[in-house]
Amino acid sequence: MTSSSSGSSALPPIQYFRITRHRRIAWWGSLAACLISLVGIGLSWLNPAIGAPLKPGLDFTGGTRIQLERACYPSCSGITVPQVAEQLESLKLPSEEGAAAPALRGAPVQVLDQGRSIELRLPILSAVQGTALIGQLATSLGPFKDGGTSVDTIGPTLGAQLLRSSLLSLLVSFAAIALYITFRYDKIFAFLAILCLAHDVLITTGLFAWLGLLLGIEVDSLFAVALITVAGYSVNDTVVVFDRIREQKESLGAFPFSDQVDVAVDATLTRSLYTSLTTLLPLLGILFFGGSSLFWFSVALTVGISVGSWSSIGVAPTLLPLLSGKGFVGSAQSDGAAPAGSA
């Protein structure tokens, strides 16, 4: 606050920094992140073991997932993955009408919590077969805790339907949001909001493509939910900056457009950071205490919301002068009100 404003005609003091001066760093940073994400998605697609932009989970591929809690107190006799796999192979499941029981050889097995719980990923089993499988496993690996078992069977058509409906709702909400912003602001604002949104969604998707490649993390229907939430937040964040630019038009209309952008970003910066922080706090709550079922969901949201907050500060406002054809006049020349904070 060292530089005092010299009357109503001067630009309001900049508290933190002028974002348009750092626009190249912002653009290159975002571009690099987007490229890395695209590479991850491409690699995942080319990977014969995955063959899709993201590693699809059970929700999308169909199959049966069985989770068993072993009833052992105080400690479980250790079991290993090969032991469980061996047990699986020796099982005999009843066949369904017209179809033999699926082979269980090589089904992925996970042993969690020091052997306390087992997770099995199997081909689609009927209810009868699932019950039979649990009953037979109980004799060798059990006893299992009554009420600690969960079985999910998802047919392949349902998975495809889920994928379709997730993509469709994402696209429809994109389009509806674009319409709303065009109506409230103008076309360039809408375009930038959607660009930012695509940026945020792309980077979040890219991260999970890499996670799928490197750690075998799969995406489920909750991931689709997370992406749509990220989209909503991203627009919300961007709109606040745009709202400020529009509001200032009357008082600062005479200044170069890039200066207006600088002032708007600077004035909303605290809010943008605090908002992201207060949203991230409950998310961190889910991340650390929410249990395994919501862990990757909150990872996706945490990353998406952080990226969203970045893009609403660094990407959308810096592109605005470029796209509205008003250029970066203000940044080339030095004007009276020198930035105090970070210059």
Partner: protein
């Protein structure tokens, strides 16, 4: 100030009402939180019907509804989803096997007369069927970990039914059944039985009478033996058709076949005495040697009527109640921890208004939960995630307002004026943010499936309520506080070194 107090009283009344609602209407918990089974059924087009339409889906649902009631699982619900799907929820049910069997079958019951001149072929098939069936029954009774089957000591054990391997292989070959390599004896016999039943059905004439003409179905224990029979009562038209059908084959060697979903479940001969008028009275029974449970399930299916279209079970989710309790515990801890962190943050950063916002946010959570109980919204795990996220949005509205108030204070405005300007300036961006959020929610709700819908509902309710609490609750509470001069100090809003020296 009287207006502020009136509004405050209104908010207080709303809060008490919300508390009362929560107290008297318990929250509905989804199956992932309380344990139970969920089955998704896909209605398949068949015959002349190429695509499933609304009314056909409703017709299927009606039949399944009757089966649900017949099964008698407490609080079970059946809902239609989209164009051609149904979701059945069975709270507390941990073994969906039986439900899958009862709901997944069409239960089309037909009474068909045997074609003339096929007696010999039928005899051979039925012999095979009886042999296969008895071997299967025996092996089934043995497998469920019950080796100590009570055997009367003074009676010589009955010769165990068996199916010598070469006989079985020969029978399979003759019927042209291909068995996958390495299949066990039970599987081979099952394949044989399937083929036999198919061939038996082929020997019948088209159905003259179907389950449509049933008035009621029941079950009774056989007088001899331990099996159960299913009893049937026809309406007048059905009774006449049954009499005609039985009259036609009475005294001949032709059999009356009872066919369920294309499988012959019972074959009966009709004796000479009925040749004059057939079996009249409109009653019949199916002697299929059922177990008590099988008989009950069949009875439920027949009483509910057959499905107008076949269904396929495409999803089964079962969660044990222990896991459900664990899910509730962890998400509750997560929600409370997140809220506590947010509360600390707000008070530290925004001081007095921060504390007001914490009160407003607590009210917000209360209103949210009350609306879940009222609407009612079934809370699922993603639903709770949506709720926690909507808290983030609600906080954002407060942050936007308070940042504006701070700005106004810094530029030298009076406290009351700053508060009013802060609220009105923040309004448009709060509105835009909430509307875009709601747009996403609507898209998710309209196009999404099960879990996604639960998330959209709670987030959407949260957004609507947050518009209300941020713009009214926070404001009224803040204004009310400002009516007390001791609280009217800018330093309660902002560190004093940030205030311009001219401000009061």
């Amino acid at each position: 100030m009287a207006r502020q107090q009136g509004l405050f009283a209104l908010i207080l009344a709303l809060a008490i009402a919300a508390g009362a609602v929560l107290f008297s209407f318990p929250l509905q918990l989804g199956l992932d939180l309380r344990g139970g089974s969920q089955l998704t059924l896909q209605v398949l087009p068949a015959g002349a019907i190429k695509t499933v339409k609304r009314e056909q889906l409703e017709a299927v649902k009606e039949v399944l509804d009757r089966r649900v009631n017949g099964l008698g699982v407490a609080e079970s619900t059946l809902q239609t989803i989209g164009e051609d799907q149904l979701v059945l929820q069975l709270p507390g049910e941990q073994d969906p096997t039986r439900a899958a069997k009862v709901f997944g079958t069409t239960a089309l019951l037909e009474f068909r007369a045997q074609k003339p001149g096929t007696e010999q072929e039928m005899q051979g098939l039925l012999r095979l069927k009886r042999q296969a069936q008895s071997v299967l029954d025996l092996s089934r009774r043995r497998t469920p970990a019950d080796p100590a089957e009570p055997v009367a000591p003074d009676q010589p054990p009955a010769p165990a039914p068996s199916f010598p391997a070469e006989d079985l292989a020969k029978a399979l070959r003759e019927l042209g059944v291909a068995v996958p390599a390495g299949a066990g004896e039970t599987e081979q016999i099952e394949a044989l039985l399937d083929e036999v039943n198919k061939r038996v059905v082929a020997l019948y004439e088209p159905a003259l009478l179907s389950g449509k003409d049933l008035v009621s179905a029941g079950r009774q224990q056989q007088q001899t033996g331990t099996g159960w029979d299913v009893t049937l009562n026809f309406n007048r038209q059905g009774g006449e058709a049954f009499a005609k059908l039985t009259q036609a084959i009475a005294g001949s060697n032709r059999l009356l076949g009872i066919v369920l979903d294309g499988r012959s479940i019972s074959e009966a001969s009709v004796s000479q005495e009925f040749a004059a008028a057939g079996i009249t009275g409109g009653a019949a029974s199916i002697t299929g040697n059922f177990t008590a449970e099988e008989a009950r399930d069949l009875e439920v299916q027949l009483r509910g009527g057959s499905l107008p279209l076949p269904v396929k079970i495409i999803e089964v989710r079962t969660v044990g109640p222990l896991l459900g309790a664990e899910n509730i515990r962890t998400s509750l801890v997560a929600a409370l921890a997140g809220l506590a962190l947010v509360a600390v943050f707000m008070v530290v950063v925004y001081r007095l208004p921060g504390a007001v916002a914490v009160v407003a946010l607590s009210l917000y959570s209360l209103f949210n939960l009350a609306s879940y109980a009222l609407i009612p919204v079934t809370l699922t795990l993603p639903g709770i995630a949506g709720f926690i996220l909507s808290i983030g949005m609600a906080v954002d509205a407060n942050v936007l307002i308070f940042e504006r108030v701070k700005e106004e204070l810094r530029s030298g405005n009076t406290l009351i004026r700053s508060i009013d300007t802060g609220f009105s300036l923040a309004f448009s961006s709060i509105l835009d943010g909430h509307v875009t959020g709601l747009i996403s929610c609507i898209a998710l709700f309209a196009l999404g499936t099960g879990l996604v819908k639960g998330f959209a509902v709670t987030l959407g309710i949260g957004l609507l309520l947050s518009l209300f609490t941020a713009l009214s609750c926070t404001r009224v509470l803040l204004r009310l506080m400002m009516s007390y001069p001791t609280l009217r100090r800018p330093s309660y809003f902002l560190p004093s070194h940030q205030l311009p020296s001219t401000a009061a």
